[in-house]
């Protein structure tokens, strides 16, 4: 028998469901015309630069098939870079090269590919394989994030990124997504990445979840999530809230990474952020969204919104499992 939870329980816990998210939050708060700025990563980057928001450096853009070889030549001097579709969705089609050995490129997962693979991947991107609706796309090449070594132990073969949900300019909920061996270096929770709920109040960890179950330690690196304290928390929230103002979207997910030198950096924005953040935080979104609405209606400015949010959403009690329970062992 499959164990289900009663809808009334979910309602009491304030869990946001997909239908409700689509109609009540995305449909009602995100004007269609503003999607372009979010779905197109080049436009996002341009708008961010205009507002002084830090983004990864852009090495180049490939618009057409014939430019691929030329572009790859220009990469001669670069050892590490990321190729991604400009209009990709859900992290699809992102190729991360961490180092190279002559004509061979080493992926973040440790796999080695050659020029041919690189060319094929790029031409797939141009043909729209990874894009929303499958329309033709462009490929962009940007700098690899040199991520903050303080967080290195929390991620296996990938960059840990921080997702902040912002509702009407108020940061509502946050989590850090840590790649694991099981998730193949990707930060997608449904593929086995660990989601760590982060206290909006201080940037400390609240809970860590892999495959829907609570964990305390990273399955591959063994790092303990209980002691996770995100640096630059104030700046992260500030960045996320600025993105909401920049895009004009009422319900937004901002993906942020911490760079060693440049601090919090906007990786990408998402107009349809997923629901897994509730599991990572072990808390439903709906109650917080109601509070956020109040804050948005009363707070006078950007800084006040963040300050009040930090007070209201602070969680004094983390929900890690009892001490002594063994760390969940992933497929090592």
């Amino acid at each position: 028998m499959i164990r289900l939870v009663a809808p009334s329980t979910l309602r009491r816990l304030g869990i946001l469901g997909m239908n409700s998210r689509n109609i009540a939050y995305i449909g009602a708060n995100n004007p269609r015309r503003n999607y372009q700025l979010v779905d197109n990563k080049l436009l996002t980057k341009k708008a961010a630069l205009e507002r002084g928001i830090v983004v990864p450096e852009l090495y180049g853009v490939i618009d057409y098939q014939f430019q691929i070889d030329h572009m790859l030549e220009q990469l001669q001097g670069r050892d590490a870079f990321v190729i991604k579709p400009v209009q990709g969705s859900g992290g699809k089609g992102i190729l991360v090269i961490v180092s190279r050995d002559g004509d061979h490129f080493v992926k973040s997962s440790g796999g080695v590919i050659d020029y041919r693979d690189l060319r094929r991947h790029t031409s797939n991107i141009l043909a729209g394989l990874h894009s929303l609706g499958g329309r033709n796309d462009f490929a962009m090449i940007e700098a690899l994030i040199d991520f903050n070594p303080a967080l290195a132990e929390y991620s296996y073969e990938g960059v840990p990124d921080i997702r902040v949900i912002v509702f009407r300019g108020v940061p509502v909920m946050a989590m850090m997504r840590c790649a694991t061996h099981a998730s193949d270096g990707k930060a997608n929770l449904h593929q086995g990445a660990v989601g760590v709920g982060i206290d909006i109040g201080n940037g400390h960890s609240i809970a860590a979840v892999q495959h829907g179950s609570l964990v305390t330690h990273h399955p591959d690196t063994g790092a303990c999530f209980k002691s996770l304290r995100l640096p630059d928390w104030e700046a992260i929230l500030d960045l996320a809230a600025s993105c909401a103002e920049m895009t004009g979207l009422g319900y937004l997910g901002a993906d942020i990474v911490l760079d060693r030198q440049r601090g919090p950096m906007l990786l990408e924005l998402n107009a349809r952020p997923g629901l897994a953040i509730q599991v990572a935080n072990q808390e439903g979104l709906i109650h917080r969204l109601k509070v956020a609405e109040e804050i948005a209606n009363t707070a006078p400015d950007h800084n006040a919104r963040i300050r009040i949010a930090r007070e209201r959403f602070h969680r004094p009690q983390p929900v890690f499992p009892e001490a002594g329970s063994a760390p969940a062992s992933g497929a090592a």
Binding site: L13, I15, N19, S20, I23, A24, G93, S123, D184
Partner: protein
């Protein structure tokens, strides 16, 4: 947002009420049956005469069916714009005659009738005419002589003689004489049969009629063989040798002479479009009584030409399938690969039947995925790669059809009903999904699509559903209302009750 909710509620409610009210009106006042059970099968037969005019006056004569074998014509209608038209009683039945002084363009004439088989009668008595020996060349005569002698030895009477003769001619390798006759006649085997029977002195003629198949659009006349065995007339299928009048055979014309004669025209063709409907016995009776002024059927899809009726029968089922997709995705939360791909698969299942369809689908997709994995090494551009997959899928379909045909599994021939392009895209998407998210996600989405397709198929293939959508298309307005309401549903999906099952323990 509240306002838009209320608006949708009012509009949807009005739609639902409208559909139900119109249905109720049709059931109560017009006596259309709500359930298909208590009904008669009424066939609408649309006869299409097309020809190219040559110089001079045009004269077209169509022999009309006489209602043999218990068939009753409920309604008939002729379309003859610009032609002089009359129905005349001739010896052997009614003949419709269209005439015109001159004509310039290729023309099509229509004759539509609705008929049902009230009784399972056999054919009535028919005069036995003198048998005239066929005119033959000397060598044909010799062959016929030997063939008749051989068959006489092996048969016990005219009936078995005819059955043996049909078998002899239908064999893959007929005897020398039979083969010679078939070769020199350059005509259908039935002509040979008739001549051999005439030569043997057995009275015989052909019976022309239509093989009734629901939804057929370009059916032509087929023929049965009728012989007199000394005491009465016997019907024989000239291909299989089966005796008796088949249930699905609508007798058009019995005896010699053509069903259609076109003077002043060439390349004439006689084709039929067929649709079967279920009407309540009561309706059929009242139609029979006042067949001229019965306006009921002008009120529905029945008023359309038969070809369109057949198409609409299928199209009107689509909203039901779309509804299944809406329910499964919004209320249940099943992931499918491509929003409406399951509907197309379900439509294919309707043609192939479920198990055969599933087997074909799984075979095509898994072989396609295997070949696609090889294609991915070739480093092709996406559009070229998908096109390559399209061609591979078509070849696979051909191979599958051929192999199954050779093995005697006729069902797999229905493989052609699968939407090729959709299959190719499905294979491409699944293959990419496999590379990016692993085999599990492929199984989840592929399984979800199949599950939805199977459910849509099961619902579409329920007789009541087809009956309701076709006879009460206004119910689709109600369905539209329900879909609008579901479109505003903000509650949890069934899958979320599973997804968040562990959240109940928190706090």
């Amino acid at each position: 947002m509240i306002a838009s909710r209320a608006k949708v509620g009012i509009v949807a409610g009005a739609m639902i009420l409208f559909g139900l009210a119109l249905t109720a009106y049709k059931v109560v006042r017009l006596d259309l049956p709500l359930w298909p059970g208590e009904s008669r099968e009424v066939w609408t037969i649309e006869t299409k005469i097309s020809f190219k005019p040559s110089d001079g006056p045009v004269d077209v004569e169509l022999r009309l069916p006489r209602g043999l074998g218990g068939w009753v014509t409920l309604e008939e209608h002729f379309a003859s714009s610009g032609f002089g038209f009359s129905v005349v009683e001739e010896q052997g039945g009614k003949v419709a005659r269209w005439s015109r002084q001159s004509l310039e363009h290729p023309t099509t004439l229509y004759y539509k009738q609705q008929a049902y088989r009230a009784r399972r009668d056999s054919l009535p008595a028919f005069p036995v005419s003198e048998v005239e020996a066929p005119l033959l060349e000397a060598d044909q005569q010799a062959a016929m002589e030997r063939l008749v002698a051989d068959l006489r030895d092996r048969s016990s009477g005219p009936a078995t003689f005819a059955a043996l003769l049909v078998q002899e001619l239908a064999r893959a390798e007929p005897g020398q004489d039979a083969e010679f006759l078939l070769g020199t006649y350059r005509d259908t085997a039935l002509r040979v049969v008739l001549d051999v029977l005439a030569y043997a002195g057995i009275p015989a003629h052909s019976v022309r009629g239509i093989q009734l198949q629901d939804g057929r659009r370009r059916q032509t006349l087929s023929e049965l063989l009728e012989i007199h065995d000394g005491s009465g007339w016997q019907l024989l299928d000239p291909v299989t040798g089966a005796s008796g009048l088949p249930d699905n055979f609508f007798v058009w014309h019995r005896g010699d002479g053509a069903a259609l004669r076109v003077m002043g025209g060439r390349d004439s063709r006689l084709e039929f479009a067929l649709v079967r409907n279920s009407l309540s016995a009561k309706t059929v009776v009242s139609m029979e009584q006042r067949s001229d002024d019965f306006a009921l059927l002008d009120f529905s899809i029945y008023a359309l030409p038969v070809e369109q009726q057949g198409i609409f029968k299928g199209i009107l089922l689509l909203p039901v399938a779309a509804f299944v997709v809406v329910v499964m995705r919004i209320l249940v939360g099943i992931k499918t690969s491509g929003t409406f791909m399951p509907i197309l698969i379900a439509l294919a299942f309707l043609q192939t039947t479920l198990l055969v369809g599933l087997a074909i689908f799984l075979t095509l997709v898994s072989v396609g995925l295997w070949i696609r994995s090889w294609l991915s090494h070739l480093n092709l551009l996406l559009v070229a790669r998908v096109s390559a997959v399209v061609i591979v899928v078509i070849l696979l379909m051909a191979v599958l059809a051929l192999i199954s045909y050779k093995l005697g599994l006729d069902q797999a021939l229905t493989v052609t009903f699968f939407p090729t392009i959709i299959l190719a895209w499905t294979i491409e998407r699944m293959s990419i999904l496999w590379e990016e998210e692993g085999g599990r996600e492929v199984m989840v989405q592929g399984g979800g699509s199949l599950l939805v397709a199977v459910m849509a198929y099961l619902i579409m293939s329920v007789g009541v559903v087809e009956h309701l959508t076709f006879n009460f298309p206004e119910l689709l307005v109600s369905l539209l209302g329900v879909i609008l309401l579901i479109g505003k549903y903000t509650g949890y999906r069934l899958s979320e009750l599973y997804r968040f099952r562990d959240m109940a323990n928190m706090k």
